[in-house]
Amino acid sequence: MKRAPARGWPSTIVGIALLALMLFPVYWMVNASLQPAGNTLQGGWFPSHPDLGGYVTALRDQGRNLVTSLVVALGSVALSLGLAAPAAYALAQFRIRGTNLVLIGILITQMVPGIVVANALYSAYNDLGLLNSYLGLILADSTAGVPFAIIILRAFMRNIPRDIIEAAHLDGAGRLRVFRSVVLPVSRNALITAAVFTFLFTWSDFLFALTLTTTQTVRPITLGIYQYIGAHTNQWNAVMATTVMASVPAAVLLVVAQRYVVAGATGGAIK
């Protein structure tokens, strides 16, 4: 498709200015994280004498929480894809009665406020001993990933040509074989998109961390930051160093997996 006529560098300059304005908070976060401890405002607009003290403090206090977040996020990616991929395949390619009802149900799950889930899970987790556990957080955090992954994967799997699936069946492969050795490999891009977003959802989760963990044992980084703010408002360099470290996955994914991020941003909403 042809696009609007090409324009030159004036638009680029306006674009850079707009982006600089939009990303100023991110710059300011990095800047503050590199200032020496104390009242960091006086440190100035540029970290002319970068000081890694904030990072040292942050790693000492929050390093463990970063690892916790990583474990929970990876666990949630595995669980979400493991549950969503077969379901998406079934919803995309089998003619099952009630498919539309299931799809509407999945859409509605995305509208359920997290606090409703947290409210009910707290008492259930209390009975089951799942409070303050990795498993409990992974299960709860996947409430964002599972429906999203089903929607993304189904939209993609609908377009897998029936021929290649039928051909595999003719070769004598059962449903499971076809799913494993035909459907999953061709769905690679959609699986990556779903994984990227599930990771981001879980890494960013605050509500379940706040409500379903009550001790230090299993504490994601988001909750760590929240408690840091309460206790260390005069140590903004350490607080900001933690936020920079908590932003790393978002930044890395934006650079490395950019097209999957864009695909998820638009695909999850409309398809």
Binding site: P86, F94, M111, L207, T222, M240
Partner: protein, 309 residues
């Protein structure tokens, strides 16, 4: 509609069983983590469910008492109004700015693609990170925003962004707008790409200026995507908790308390789970109302999608 597999219509149950096995794990998960909480939440809202319930297991039914208490509390009308203002304000700002950015990036210019994808960053950051950063920037005494205002002699005394009762709500709305712009830009840009170029060329031949071609080509064809963006925006904004808890904690003087923060506070700070559940049910009703709108908007968007491609 394409015809799917022939063998699935076969009532032969082994095949059907195999098919259900694909759906069963996800189905079980969704029932346990959405079905159960919704039902449990409704039941809890009619119970006196407090800390003691966790020790004694006793949660006597109290009828509509929880609803009566939350609906007649002084805070409820205030939280409802705050929720509406927060949602409407965030949505207007996000959408208008998002559309402006989408139209801007629709032009082709050097580095346009790179800049457009970098713009997504605020949306990808954890909300707690954004909240913490903005709280630091808006700090009345040491924040960079007031420092800049003082420097430019715009406000020598500084603005009490987070400590003034009327400014605090404006602040959290502005922050939420900042977070929402990238998402709106992304999906509106996607919608703009789907509008066939020849329509613009035709409009130009008819002598339409940029404004007229926006009104007669862009806007009508973008409408389905617009409704999806707006409805998703409402659904996500109504339940926002992270930003408000991190930036203002609902204060000062409850100025930024919404239904969502109220629900959290009732359940997890006052340990009145019954009342918290009642409050979050009010939230669910609002969300579901918009979910219905969303389903209709989504269907229209899909029709357009298929018509164009």
């Amino acid at each position: 509609m394409r015809s799917r597999s022939r063998r699935v219509t076969d009532p032969c149950s082994r095949e059907r069983l195999a098919q259900w096995m694909f759906l069963a794990p996800a189905g079980a998960y969704l029932l346990l983590f959405f079905g159960y909480p919704i039902v449990k939440n409704v039941v809890m809202s009619f119970q006196q469910y407090t800390t003691t319930t966790f020790y004694t297991g006793d949660a006597p039914f109290v009828g509509l008492k929880n609803y009566a208490m939350i609906l007649t509390s002084d805070l409820f009308p205030k939280a409802l109004v705050t929720t509406l203002l927060f949602t409407a304000g965030s949505l207007c700002g996000q959408f208008v700015m998002g559309l402006a950015f989408a139209l801007f990036f629709q032009r082709r210019f050097p580095l346009g693609g790179v800049l457009r994808s970098l713009l997504l960053l605020p949306w990808l950051l954890p909300l707690v990170v954004s909240g913490a950063t903005w709280r630091w920037m808006l700090d009345p005494d040491t924040g960079v925003v007031n420092a800049a205002l003082r420097h430019l002699h715009l406000s020598p005394s500084g603005v009490p962004w987070l400590t003034g009762t009327s400014q605090a709500l404006v602040s959290v709305i502005l922050i939420n707008i900042w977070i929402g712009i990238p998402f709106n830009t992304a999906i509106l840009y996607g919608g703009l790409q789907d509008i066939p170029t020849h329509l613009y060329e035709a409009a130009k031949l008819d002598g339409a200026g940029p404004l007229a071609s926006f009104r007669h080509v862009t806007w009508p064809l973008l409408r389905p995507v617009v409704s999806v963006a707006l409805v998703l925006g409402v659904v996500y904004t109504v339940k926002v908790l992270d930003i408000i808890l991190v930036v203002t904690g609902g204060g000062p003087a409850n100025a930024t308390e919404t239904l969502a923060t109220q629900s959290y506070e009732l359940s997890f700070q006052q340990f009145e789970f019954g009342r918290g559940a009642a409050m979050s049910n009010v939230l669910i009703v609002i969300s579901l109302a918009f979910a219905l709108v969303y389903l209709r908007a989504g269907r229209r968007a899909r029709n357009v999608d298929e018509a164009i491609s």
